[in-house]
Amino acid sequence: MADDLKELKIELSKNGIFTTTLQDLYNWGRKNSVWPLNFGLACCAIEMIATTMARYDLARFGAEVFRPSPRQADLIIVSGTVTKKMAPQVVRLYNQMPEPKYVIAMGACAISGGPFRDGYNVLKGIDRYIPVDVHIPGCPPRPEALIDAFMMLQRKIDSQSLSGPNRPRHLRADQPSEFPVPEFGAHGLEPTQNDEVFLEEKGNPLRILQ
């Protein structure tokens, strides 16, 4: 059925008639103008900056403007080691972004603590508190790897549907739009992780929220 539709679309476009669906248009608009938040923590941030500059231009994918305010941003690229002191601020910034919002965990430190995971103040991965969409391994990952991850995020956005049970998080009223901010207490962060980030769904255990 989908193949018939595709053939029909190709036939029509050969005759100069362009057809699309509302979902395709919505996703096309969203994926080609993902505005990241001006957010960098450590060495991976330098690679992120290099990606936005002339040689590995990220602007040609739509990430032209890095927004200084989370209210105007769609994407937060957590680039660098997240210390336990900084973690509440990262989560609060993520909470202050309006939906739909996406997270890229760039580098080994943001994924799991990286080479510094035995440090007393290092958070072992930002996905303990916020849901991550794309992970980029590397220490630091090259700018091309960040571009590849960005394109992967664009493919993910393209595959999201407007209706049905597999709708993304921002279209469902039952999914949380913000996650609890940890407190930097006397013995590290309290709570040590947010269990809401990965939820079990019936028939689909531990499916990561879209």
Partner: protein, 126 residues
């Protein structure tokens, strides 16, 4: 429209309606889209004041600096006076002597303010 003269501002009104519609239509469509597809998801932290990820403490309404009074006076002398002088300059030749004298009094009051600012030294670059 035989027999009626067209109002000279008809095109302006039409363009005004077009301009307002140009701005309002995308907003209305966005509202409609949001009503159909996106559920409202407000949150306590989402709507909190932005302060680089920190919690904001206290009020942002601080006391206004009184040292900015110079700017207020200079603004009065230059900008407000210019606004009143513009229609005077256009209608200058058709006014009575009394009107011109009244305008001159207004001008002299503001020139006094200008001389004061000049003598205070705020009109020269440091």
């Amino acid at each position: 429209m035989a027999g009626h003269a067209e109002h000279p501002w008809l095109t302006v009104v039409a363009l005004l309606i077009g301009a307002v519609a140009f701005g309002v239509t995308p907003l209305a469509l966005a509202q409609l889209w949001a009503r159909v597809f996106s559920p409202k998801k407000p949150g306590a932290i989402k709507n909190a004041t932005y302060e680089c990820g920190l919690e904001s403490k206290g009020d942002a309404w601080i006391q206004f600096g009184a040292s900015y009074y110079i700017y207020a006076i200079v603004f009065l002398v230059f900008d407000v006076e210019a606004v009143f002088l513009l229609p005077f300059a256009v209608a200058f030749t058709g006014l009575t002597l009394g009107a011109c004298l009244a305008m001159l009094v207004f001008l002299l009051l503001l020139v006094e303010g200008l001389i004061w600012a000049c003598q205070k030294g705020v009109l020269t670059w440091a």
